[in-house]
């Protein structure tokens, strides 16, 4: 890669959202913003190797995209609307603070609750993340035309229904931030445990993109503790990725992972974030508690060193916020380590999670540890039937077949 290529790809990562966000506010149109940002970057690829790298690549891209947008509006409209005419008089870059506000507006608009979740995900990856439609399609193994349609429809709804391009009002902020974080976490999880048997079990491009976007949102909203909470949760989960799938493509359970393969740098950053949240003294939300649970796990160099009573105490805190059966299932897994499988089994029984593969996998594991092979095998069968991820299916199948041999 030449120097120019490197500068361009760095500018793309760092400035794409800035250019789109600024244009979207100035022209009140996401279509124009997206297309002209893409054209500005294409022009950079053409011009920079010849003309040299401009002193401020970000400003150059914003001004170029801005001029192209003006040209397009002039070409398409016989008369330019008054509010746009005023904007066209200046093409000097705005102070950084205003641009950050624009990026935050863009994030909130793309994650608006009036849009379907799948549209929010696609739109956020395209407009904020700068992924191309083919890249998004590849990441989710969905046809490009389908992703394109999804994005087009979302943009049309934003325009027609007048979804505002703004940071939500104070009383709406907590709920809307939760909505943004849900989009980011979904992108991360789709990368971390792909739900489709046709897909690779772990896709680091998606987890890396989710982390990058969450870092951006954290920089834009430093006051909300759940944002660094989610970032810490992602980092501490991502840190274990190298140990998560075996050479033969099988999912490796937390207890069996080679902890030397964990990424110490990500763990250190995640732990620092968790410590900072604890030091704040504010009551933690669900992402912060989940991050703390993962901090306990990643703190143990050996699974036997895990502080299970701490894990359970954190799950108790989480149950108070979110008494859902899935949280209680995960709590029961920790209970099995502290109080034994018998106690955990009593807690798992009766949870209304018949359609959830992890429920049956947990059930199967507890029965196996109690020596109840026949029942365990039946539970593994149900888990395998429901699991979508290839690495997970491979793991469950091996566990079941080991059972058959004993």
């Amino acid at each position: 890669m030449t120097d120019v290529d490197e500068v361009i790809s760095r500018a793309y990562r760092e400035d794409w959202a800035r250019v789109v966000a600024t244009l979207a506010r100035r022209f009140g149109d996401l279509d124009i913003a997206e297309e002209m940002a893409a054209e500005a970057f294409a022009t950079a690829v053409e011009r920079w190797p010849v003309d040299g790298i401009p002193p401020s690549p970000g400003a150059w891209l914003t001004v170029t995209a801005h001029r192209k947008a003006i040209d397009r509006v002039r070409r398409e409209a016989r008369s330019v609307p008054k509010h746009m005419e005023a904007l066209m008089l200046s093409d000097t870059p705005e102070p950084l603070g205003a641009i950050d506000d624009d990026r935050l507006r863009l994030v909130f608009t793309c994650c608006h609750p009036a849009l379907a979740m799948e549209s929010r995900v696609a739109l956020t990856l395209r407009m904020v993340g700068g992924l191309t439609v083919p890249e998004i399609a590849r990441a989710f193994l969905i046809q490009e035309t389908a992703i394109g349609r999804r994005i087009t429809r979302a943009k049309a709804k934003i325009k027609a229904a007048k979804i505002p391009y703004r940071v939500p009002s104070r009383e709406d902020v907590p709920a809307r931030v939760t909505g943004v974080l849900a989009v980011l976490y979904l992108i991360f999880n789709e990368g971390y445990l792909a739900s489709d048997p046709e897909k690779e079990p772990v896709r680091s491009d998606l987890t890396a993109e989710a982390i990058r976007l969450t870092r951006l949102v954290r920089d834009l909203m430093p006051a909300d503790g759940e944002v660094p909470g989610l970032l810490a949760l992602m980092l501490l989960t991502e840190a274990r990725r190298p140990a998560r799938v075996s050479a033969c493509g099988e999912l490796v359970a937390l207890a069996e992972q080679d902890r030397a393969a964990w990424d110490r740098e990500l763990i250190a950053e995640g732990h620092a974030l968790v410590r900072a949240r604890l030091a704040s003294g504010e009551a933690p939300g669900r992402y912060q508690i989940l991050a703390a649970i993962n901090a306990v796990h990643t703190d143990a160099r050996d699974v036997r060193d895990t502080d299970w009573s701490q894990v359970i105490a954190l799950y108790d805190q989480l149950v108070r916020l979110d008494p859902s059966p899935i949280v209680r299932l995960n709590r029961a897994i920790a209970v099995a380590e502290l109080d034994g499988p018998e106690v955990a089994l009593a807690e798992v029984r009766g949870l209304p999670l018949e359609g959830y593969h992890a429920f049956h996998a947990t059930h199967a594991d507890l029965l196996r540890r109690l020596g109840r092979s026949e029942e365990s095998r039946a539970a593994y069968d149900r888990a395998i039937g429901l699991a979508g991820n290839t690495a997970e299916t491979a793991y469950l199948t091996r566990r079941r077949d080991q059972l058959a041999r004993t």
């Binding site: 009036a114 027609a160 229904a161 007048k162």
Partner: protein
């Protein structure tokens, strides 16, 4: 100011209780004082509808609604709002006041 249609979804008609009617009146008053009011009304049962097709000369009349469905529009509001966030807040209040689900839909180019 954009305009939005809030349709009230129901499976029976003329079914609002006295409390619901009182809550709807209060919501209507709020719409007027806050300057969002455009129009509102309740509709009679779908069985009272007539489909009229006047595209080819003499109009063809069909008794009943154009679509048989379990749920239908029992009433509506037309509101003015600067953008969707305000309209969503009003739609939520409307839904609460009439105690029914509602559909919020923008007018074209308004």
């Amino acid at each position: 100011m954009a305009q939005y249609l809030i349709s009230v979804l129901d499976d029976t008609s003329d079914s609002a209780t006295a409390e619901e009617m009182a809550a709807i009146d209060a919501f209507n008053e709020q719409l007027e004082t806050e300057g969002h009011w455009v129009f509102a009304g309740g509709l009679a049962s779908p069985s009272t509808a007539t489909v009229v097709d006047g595209r080819d000369g003499e109009a063809v009349l069909t008794d009943g609604p154009y679509l048989e469905s379990k749920e239908y529009v029992a009433g509506f509001w037309i509101i003015g709002a600067p953008h969707l966030d305000v309209a969503l807040r009003l739609a939520a209040l409307g839904s609460k006041s009439c105690n029914r689900r509602v559909e919020l839909r923008p007018f074209l180019g308004a």
